[in-house]
């Protein structure tokens, strides 16, 4: 398989790919935690043989929403010496998760996207995607620093936490994330596993 498997997901089910580890659950708002808990409570139930036959369902995103989430994933984990969120197709992963999310949680995420554009409009006179890279970074910095924001920014702060959690999980479990960033080359055959080679650890 050469591309990310986003198209094979029955999107109603993809919520379950959220992880506590990727989400930093202890500090998250309740609605994000709810997504995480639902994900943990649900079973893996589609056999490998049947998964590929699952229907491709429609995106929850408009084109503009899709492009904004795609942009956000790249801003959170950008291309450096390894590829970033965009090449890892994090947007498709998030789309799939939202498709499976309970309605209220999905709506809060989409509301957050709308909030982001409105806040960007108020600050910069442009949607988030149309703002300059410096403006985008400035707004995200505000949202990523809880001590800086006002109660009016709460929607945006929570949205950023959800967006970041989903980006982390989607990126580090992608082919690009695993093979490039984690240098986990996928070789599954080893002659043996070496243990600790440091005498000081045995004291």
């Amino acid at each position: 398989m050469n591309s990310e498997p986003s198209g094979q997901i029955t999107r109603r089910d993809a919520l379950k790919t959220l992880s506590v580890a990727g989400a930093g659950a202890a500090t998250l708002p309740l609605w994000v935690t709810t997504l995480v808990e639902v994900a943990q409570a649900r079973a893996a139930t589609s056999a490998p043989t049947s998964a590929a036959q699952s229907a491709i369902t429609e995106s929850v995103f408009t084109q503009a929403q899709h492009d904004t989430v795609d942009l956000l994933s790249e801003l959170i984990i950008p291309e450096t010496d390894t590829a970033g969120g965009r090449q890892a197709r994090v947007v498709d992963f998030i789309d799939a998760i939202l498709s499976d999310a309970p309605g209220p949680e999905r709506d809060r995420f989409l509301d957050g996207l709308q909030w982001l554009d409105e806040r960007s409009g108020g600050l910069f006179g442009a949607t988030f995607a149309a703002a300059s890279p410096e403006q985008q970074t400035a707004l995200l910095t505000l949202l990523a620093s809880p001590e800086n924001h006002t109660p009016a920014d709460r929607t945006g702060v929570e949205f950023f936490q959800a967006m970041k959690s989903l980006t982390v999980t989607g990126y580090y479990t992608s082919r690009i994330g695993m093979l490039q960033e984690l240098d986990d080359n996928g070789a599954v055959m080893f002659d043996e596993k070496l243990g600790c080679a440091h005498p000081e650890h045995r004291a």
């Binding site: 109603r12 930093g24 079973a43 589609s46 596993k193």
Partner: protein, 562 residues
């Protein structure tokens, strides 16, 4: 040829760890054997997913599935091994219902296919000792087993030599050494913990003893360390009945394996002895009968007892082998939930040395051996390990962008974790019985299971938590999170008892050869016979007991005493 036309020397119900083993031993001794297996044959090329990576899977391998499938596995999905890679190896709960009291939940994790749970098991193999087999003599609670360690030891030897168990000899009386293949290696963090707890507490940490080959053995290649054994193993490098014992049984030409055969009950003859096993064909739903001169139940704890309880007749109105009235009682499952996790700052920057090692560490029981704990009887062992976390810490790192990405790389923590597995005291009031008002998908009455942990287990979990925290501190761990939420029975998947062994036919179901006191040609060779749970992972003991029982069965068969 219709199955009912066939008469076998022995009919075995179940093809898992012990059913496969009994089939091997009995066919090699010259007996003809039919093995009834409730499920299908797996196809390794389709059903084994050990070489899939997260990005090969539609949901990245996490706990997920369609809404429709989710509704069909509400219990199985609670198992840590049941995920996107493996859900097809676990039963459909809607086809396999059971009931519990509302305030006494029991999570019953099952896999029905050729090989049973020996496909998905965690492969940890620890011998019992006389601290376990003679525990009642030690502290006065419950009953001793009808055999001691010296009696059982040669049978452990036989099993270990054939299936292959890697491990490190430690010379501990509470955890006897076995016939070990070379041990796997400890990671840096595990070495640090090992040194610290030996120095501070005089306790032992050893690499997990596991039924995974570290050298080629009996035609099976050694492990290639791909990691996720519980998804199946195409090279057969860990013990499952499919990789090891069933092929040996088939090679004798005396094995008839009947998949899709859902056993419902045993039929007795006029003399009150087992005559045949009735089963429902899973595909056609037709009832069939297969005849044997002896019957060996290896359907797993609870399922074997269910078959016996459902084998009623004028002679045996409360079920077969139940003159004592204890059939179904003394259900046990290891208690878990106490433990701790932390990070080892001293290892900052040290690369991962664990890789995909499919094994953890073990800290053998240290309570109530020579000492006497004030708060609880018996003891527990820990399983766990130390490894480098590659990205799971990312959610706790602030910010975004290139600096965030770099910080995730540079702050990978060495996580260390311990979780206890404790003994569950045998109590009459923890039991199963037939719920005759309900049937499963094949029309067979289901079980009502009523079990709970008590004060002893709760106090043990508290001690697991405290002692784990203390040991992690001794190793220099920081950010320690202590866990002390007691588990739900069933989830350790070490369920044992309900047809316990004993010398007294009025208080036990089986004798020390796992033969029913009431019926000479009925044997139960899975975990049902446990008289007390001990705290060690039980499968190797099931197999050692079965080896001794099969040896006895063959002698009795040849002497025409069955």
């Amino acid at each position: 040829m219709a199955a009912q036309d066939q008469q076998y020397d022995v009919v075995i119900v179940g093809s898992g760890a012990t059913g496969g083993w009994a089939a091997k031993q009995l066919t090699e001794a010259g007996l003809t054997v039919a093995v009834l297996e409730a499920g299908r044959k797996l196809d390794p090329e389709v059903d084994y997913t050990e070489h899939k990576r997260p990005f090969d899977m539609p949901f990245r391998g996490r706990r997920l599935g369609t809404e429709a499938r989710q509704a069909r596995q509400p219990v199985q999905s609670l198992c840590y091994q049941c995920d996107e890679y493996t859900n097809h190896l676990f039963v459909d709960d809607t086809e396999h219902p059971y009931t519990t009291p509302a305030d006494r939940p029991f999570h019953w994790i099952r896999g029905k296919h050729v090989g049973g749970r020996s496909i998905m098991w965690a492969r940890q193999t620890y011998r019992l000792s006389d601290y376990d087999l003679k525990a009642a003599s030690h502290d006065g609670f419950g009953v001793d087993w009808p055999l001691d360690y010296a009696t059982l030891a040669p049978y452990y030897d036989i099993v270990e030599r054939y299936i292959g168990v890697s491990g490190q000899a430690e010379g501990l009386p509470q955890l006897p050494d076995g016939q070990f293949l070379p041990p796997m290696a400890l990671t840096c963090g595990e070495e640090i913990l090992k040194t610290a707890i030996r120095q501070e507490f005089g306790r032992t940490l050893t690499i997990g003893r596991c039924a995974i080959l570290t050298e080629d053995l009996n035609g099976r290649p050694k492990c290639h360390y791909c990691g996720p054994c519980s998804r199946g193993c195409r090279t057969g490098s860990y013990y499952s009945s499919v990789s090891s014992s069933l092929p040996a049984a088939e090679a004798t030409g005396r094995l008839t394996l009947i998949p899709n055969a859902v056993a419902s009950h045993i039929e007795v003859d006029d003399a009150g002895k087992c005559r045949s096993v009735y089963y429902v064909d899973r595909i056609t739903r037709r009832q069939r009968e297969v005849f044997g001169k002896a019957v060996v139940l290896c359907a797993a704890t609870l399922e074997s007892t269910r078959i016996m309880l459902n084998s009623t007749s004028d002679r045996y109105p409360t079920g077969i082998a139940n003159s004592s009235g204890v059939l179904g009682h003394y259900l046990m499952d290891h208690v878990t939930g106490g433990g701790a996790s932390g990070v080892l700052p001293v290892l900052k920057g040290v690369p991962d040395t664990r890789g995909n090692r499919p094994n953890g560490i073990y800290i053998p029981r240290f309570r109530n051996l020579e000492d006497r704990q004030p708060n609880f009887l018996r003891g527990y062992g820990y399983q766990g390990g130390a490894r480098l976390v590659k990205w799971g810490h990312a959610g706790s790192i602030a910010g975004f962008g290139a600096t965030f990405k770099q910080e995730v790389r540079e702050t990978r923590p060495w996580q260390i974790s311990l979780g206890g597995f404790g003994e569950h005291l045998p109590r009459y009031e923890n039991f199963c019985e037939l719920d005759k008002n309900r049937v499963d998908a094949w029309g067979i009455p289901i079980l009502h299971i009523s079990a709970a942990y008590g004060e002893n287990e709760q106090k043990m979990v508290d001690d697991m938590a405290d002692a784990a925290e203390e040991m992690l501190r001794a190793a220099g761990a920081e950010d320690i999170a202590v866990r002390r939420a007691i588990s739900i029975p069933g989830l350790a998947i070490h369920e044992v008892g309900t047809a316990r062994m004993g010398d007294d036919p009025t208080t036990s179901v089986l004798n020390g050869f796992e033969q029913a006191h009431d019926i000479d040609n009925l044997f139960v060779m899975d975990g049902s016979g446990y008289a007390s749970s001990a705290c060690q992972n039980p499968t190797i003991t099931f197999m050692a007991l079965a080896t001794r029982a099969c040896e006895y069965l063959v002698e009795e068969f040849r002497a025409s005493r069955l």
